[in-house]
């Protein structure tokens, strides 16, 4: 009989994972049969793998969530699905507006004042204006000085426009919006891939106190929002949290009074 190659830890994993050829498998099994403790250890690995499949395979059978489907299907802007989404948002906004007092941050305890409304308002404004091809903004980035002066006057305090060129987003311009505590503004940015990001700015209101970062996800639109000494801000985009967080951090640091 030829001398058997030593059995090592890697062989045991390959046995448990069914990755050995027949000859080697037989050698490993002969070795395992010599000691019940060895056999028990690798048998448990196999049982754990079966348990993982039993636990998580059902996830793969679930229907694909709409927000994930939308990421793939909305890659070209201006298609019908996107337009439908905007109308959906308008309807939702009207509904929630009539019900009143709705807390946008899912499952969060009641948030006072301007913060309660902020992510919904910002996401709604993002959904309405960001698909616009011809009129995404009222005043273009070519008139940035005018834009700053105009919106500062309307919002009653100096407004600053963060620059996101380093992250690949160029300013398209801005517009005036109605907000819960008076006038608000929206600045829109776009990257080379046509993906848009909006920064919503509104007066913080009398009951608004400076707050830390918060995050909400509104029908596929991610929103980071916070309040500082002057304004309430919300950065929105059809991005996941990991993409949006560094952008929000950048904006936040540029706006620190």
């Amino acid at each position: 009989m030829t001398k058997r190659r030593p059995i090592c830890e890697d062989d045991l994993h390959a046995w448990a994972d069914g990755r050995l050829d027949a000859a080697r498998r037989a050698e490993v099994e002969a070795w395992l049969a010599e000691d019940p403790a060895r056999a028990a250890r690798v048998g448990e690995w196999r049982a754990d793998a079966r348990q993982l499949h039993a636990a998580y395979d059902p996830v793969a059978d679930e229907p694909i969530p709409a927000r994930l489907r939308a990421v793939v299907e909305n890659r070209r802007r201006g298609n019908t699905r996107r337009v439908a989404a905007v109308f959906g948002w308008l309807a939702l906004g009207a509904l929630l507006g009539s019900v009143g007092g709705y807390q946008a941050g899912r499952g969060e305890p009641a948030v006072a004042g301007v913060l309660a409304d902020l992510p919904r308002q910002a996401a709604l404004a993002h959904a309405v204006y960001s698909p616009e091809v011809r009129h995404p903004v009222e005043v273009g980035a070519d008139q940035e000085q005018h834009l700053v002066a105009w919106l500062s006057k309307r919002l009653g305090a100096p407004v600053r426009i963060p620059q996101l060129g380093a992250s690949g987003f160029a300013l398209l311009g801005g517009r005036l919006l109605p907000a819960s505590a008076g006038p608000g503004a929206q600045f829109m940015y776009e990257d080379d891939g046509g993906r848009r990001l909006t920064l919503y700015v509104s007066a913080r209101g009398e009951d608004g106190t400076p707050s830390a970062f918060r995050y909400a996800q509104e029908d596929g639109i991610g929103v980071f929002y916070w309040v500082d000494e002057r304004f309430a801000y919300a950065l929105s985009g059809q991005f996941g949290r990991a993409t949006l967080l560094p952008l929000a951090n950048d904006v936040y640091h540029q706006l620190v009074p």
Binding site: H53, D57, E62, V71, V72, G193, G240, A242
Partner: protein
């Protein structure tokens, strides 16, 4: 060209892996969404080949960044985290919760290696490419991860003596 249909077809398995990796449904789908966005943004770099392995590689990079970021910014308090979803099929709820918790108690790198091999059925070489590490490192993470998971599920905190090479 990266087609929509090919990407959509990968979503169910990406979600399965992300759920086991991230531990809760919302974080898992955030991870999948970020992965899809990254894939679309980098679509021009994509050359026909193993789409799933490429997506898993993107997800791995995001996961590693998230682990780093979580140390700096914790933007959701534990009270706000949703309860683990109930999906009792072959396993009852208690067993699933135990498994979820045991997985989350593993270091991220061991969890990734274990799930890629035992749940996603990747070969050791494929797992090494996805994780950007040598095959030998995959094997040692797999080994530590398997023994640790076993201890956690058996309710023993202590470490077990390691079997390395035996004659």
């Amino acid at each position: 060209m990266l087609s929509n249909d090919a990407l959509l077809a990968e979503i169910p398995r990406l979600r399965r892996y992300a759920r086991a990796l991230a531990g809760d449904a919302v974080r898992a789908d955030d991870l999948v969404q970020d992965t899809l966005e990254r894939a679309l943004a980098k679509g021009r770099l994509w050359r026909p080949g193993n789409l799933r392995a490429w997506l898993l590689t993107l997800m791995h990079n995001l996961f590693v960044n998230q682990i780093r970021a979580q140390r700096l910014v914790d933007y959701r308090s534990p009270d706000e985290l949703p309860d683990p979803p109930v999906r009792a099929q072959q396993l009852d709820g208690l067993e699933l919760r135990d498994l979820d918790q045991a997985l989350q108690a593993l270091p991220g790198e061991q969890r990734e290696a274990l799930l890629l091999v035992a749940l996603e059925d990747l070969s050791y070489e494929e797992a090494a490419r996805v994780l950007g590490i040598p095959v030998g490192t995959v094997m040692s993470r797999l080994s530590r991860g398997r023994d640790r998971l076993r201890q956690l599920l058996a309710g023993q905190p202590a470490s077990v003596a390691h079997l390395k090479v035996v004659k």
